[in-house]
Amino acid sequence: MDKPRIAVYKFSSCAGCQLQFINFESELLDMLGQIHISYFKEATSLVEDPPYDIGFIEGSVTCPHEEKKIKQAREDCKVLVAMGACACEGCINTLKNYRPIEEQVKRVYEHPEYIDTFDKAYGIDHFVDVDAYIHGCPVDRDELREFVVATLMAKKPFLRPHAVCVECKLNENECLLLRENGLCLGSVTRGGCGAVCPSWGRPCFGCRGPNVDANPEALVEIFRKKGYPDDEIRRRFQYFSGETPAFRKGAEACV
């Protein structure tokens, strides 16, 4: 079998997710033994024409020009993968979704008249069909490897669909929600990151988006009992993944 031709695209994002490919370092040669890089600007200036077998999309879609580009990518790639929080859920780019756009453009840019942007930022599945999601800000390298390798072997990758709390317990972390009344979203957020933030004493802010069966209303009740004002709870839900149905429910449960 020929090696699959891979494209890695960048939209509105920090370039940290695609960097995870390069971060494979000592494993890179083995990886390149299995895939062929056709388009990956961060890694190589050589560009081959489409079609591509697998397109990894980093970044959210925030402006008309990106909408065109993502639709083209969908046409050019047999399999389209949303890679990282921006492509999957919109990530912090969606912070602009909760305030008037004119106000924000003025605040950020010296010459707002040059800016042509949507009112809202979106994950890519707002515009195109997506075949697979790899979550995280940035994506976890072990999960990225698992995804690539499992796909090449035609098996289902092991990407945790359940809460971050599981890995928190596996790491024997003392629970920040329980013990420090922390505003931790781990119980409604998709695991797979190894509970990295709570492991370093920081509450999870939900960068991986909701877990498959998240129960955000229940968590809102718990936060309230701990004395958090609704406004603060809502902002926490809107931080990284506010446009996902589950986190929107969490935000909307706040008055």
């Binding site: 494993e27 033994g33 299995q34 390798v149 499992a150 945790r160 809460a163 596996l170 129960n215 009740e221």
Partner: protein
């Protein structure tokens, strides 16, 4: 006096740990910021034998969170990789509820098809239990075993009981007695010391206030109340975070994953703790999931522990350690649920 026992002054516990460490790996409960955790005892570390519960039970030394089962190269053989024990591991400070849970584990991982990875660890493990003296409001061991905060004759290699400025050390096995062969640490126990233990246990038993009534009738009681409205109410609160089972000393479920490397040749087959509370637990090929519903999952844990376990393993799947109550972020408490269905109070 038929019990074989000696006395260890509390001031000598550290000396004892140090001599044991010469040819054992010794683990014991250590206080972190909020919780106790079983850790390897290294010089300068302080072991605490007077503690209520560790967050993760000592089960992790017999069935670790992650265990490599097989290292393989595809089409070119494989190697099973049970951990090699150069020296035995001593788990110091195991509470009676957790020691009973290890007996439950022996059932689960034993039977007709013994689990080689488990028994490799188990056969290299020495359990030094300690009679519990500081149960809290979440403990209900007395409902499940009348010895409650102590152990009677089984479940340990050695059993320590606080009798003031010393521990009474009772011997449960040959292996245990070998750990008492050190000069200058132990003194002979007298009848008086035995009485002191019995008294201390009586006092502790009084402190275990939480109860599940009519344990033998639980199976039928639960079967009759599967449709009770309490379940839906509790389900609304549940985050399906899995904590209640991950911290439970008898929960044993794991899933098995093959992690392959980029060369698509080499890989590891690993088993990792799983939980029936998680959405992916009962998912099978083609995406079918026979326990998708949150309420069914919440009920399953409680029904498994208190009803179905009996049929499966001949014991109950709960020792009353209180962890699932203490560590549930949503305050879901199976003893309260049972009481609510019955219409009575949990605390006697």
């Amino acid at each position: 006096m038929e019990r074989e026992a000696v006395i260890l002054k509390k001031s000598k516990v550290n000396d004892w740990v140090n001599v044991m460490r010469e040819d054992h790996t010794v683990y014991g409960p250590v206080k972190y910021k909020y919780d106790y955790h079983f850790k390897e005892l290294e010089p300068g570390m302080e072991v605490t034998l007077e503690y209520t519960r560790s967050m993760i039970p000592p089960k992790k030394f017999l069935h670790p969170q992650e265990e490599n089962l097989i290292t393989y190269r595809r089409n070119d053989g494989m190697e099973t990789t049970p951990t090699k024990f150069e020296q035995k591991q001593v788990i110091l400070g195991v509470h009676p509820c957790d020691a009973r849970a290890i007996e439950v584990y022996d059932e689960i991982f034993g039977g007709d098809l013994p689990d080689v990875y488990y028994w490799n660890r188990r056969n290299n493990t020495i359990i030094i239990a300690v009679t519990c003296t500081v149960p809290d409001e979440n403990c209900f061991c007395m409902s499940l075993d009348e010895s409650g905060p102590t152990l009677e004759k089984k479940g340990y290699d050695l059993l320590l009981t606080d009798i003031g400025d010393s521990y009474l050390v009772e011997v449960g096995s040959m292996e245990g007695s070998l750990l008492l062969q050190f000069e200058g640490l132990f003194e002979k126990a007298t009848e008086e010391h035995m009485h002191a233990k019995d008294k201390s246990v009586e006092v502790t038993k009084m402190k275990v206030q939480r109860k599940i009534p009519d344990v033998p009738g639980l199976h039928d009681f639960l079967e009759h109340n599967y449709e009770n409205e309490v379940w839906a109410k509790e389900t609304k609160k549940c985050l399906s975070c899995g904590t209640c089972t991950l911290v439970c000393p008898t929960c044993f479920c794991y899933h098995v994953e093959d992690f392959n490397r980029f060369n698509l040749e080499d890989g590891n087959r690993v088993r990792i703790w799983d939980s029936c509370q998680l959405i992916d637990f009962a998912e099978v090929a083609m995406g079918e999931n026979f326990r998708k519903d949150r309420e069914a999952r919440l009920k399953w844990r409680i029904y498994h522990k208190l009803a179905y376990w009996q049929e499966q393993f001949g014991t109950l799947g709960c020792t009353g350690c209180g962890r699932c109550i203490q560590y549930c972020p949503a305050d879901i408490d199976m003893t309260e649920i049972l009481a609510e269905i019955r219409g009575d109070k949990v605390h006697a």
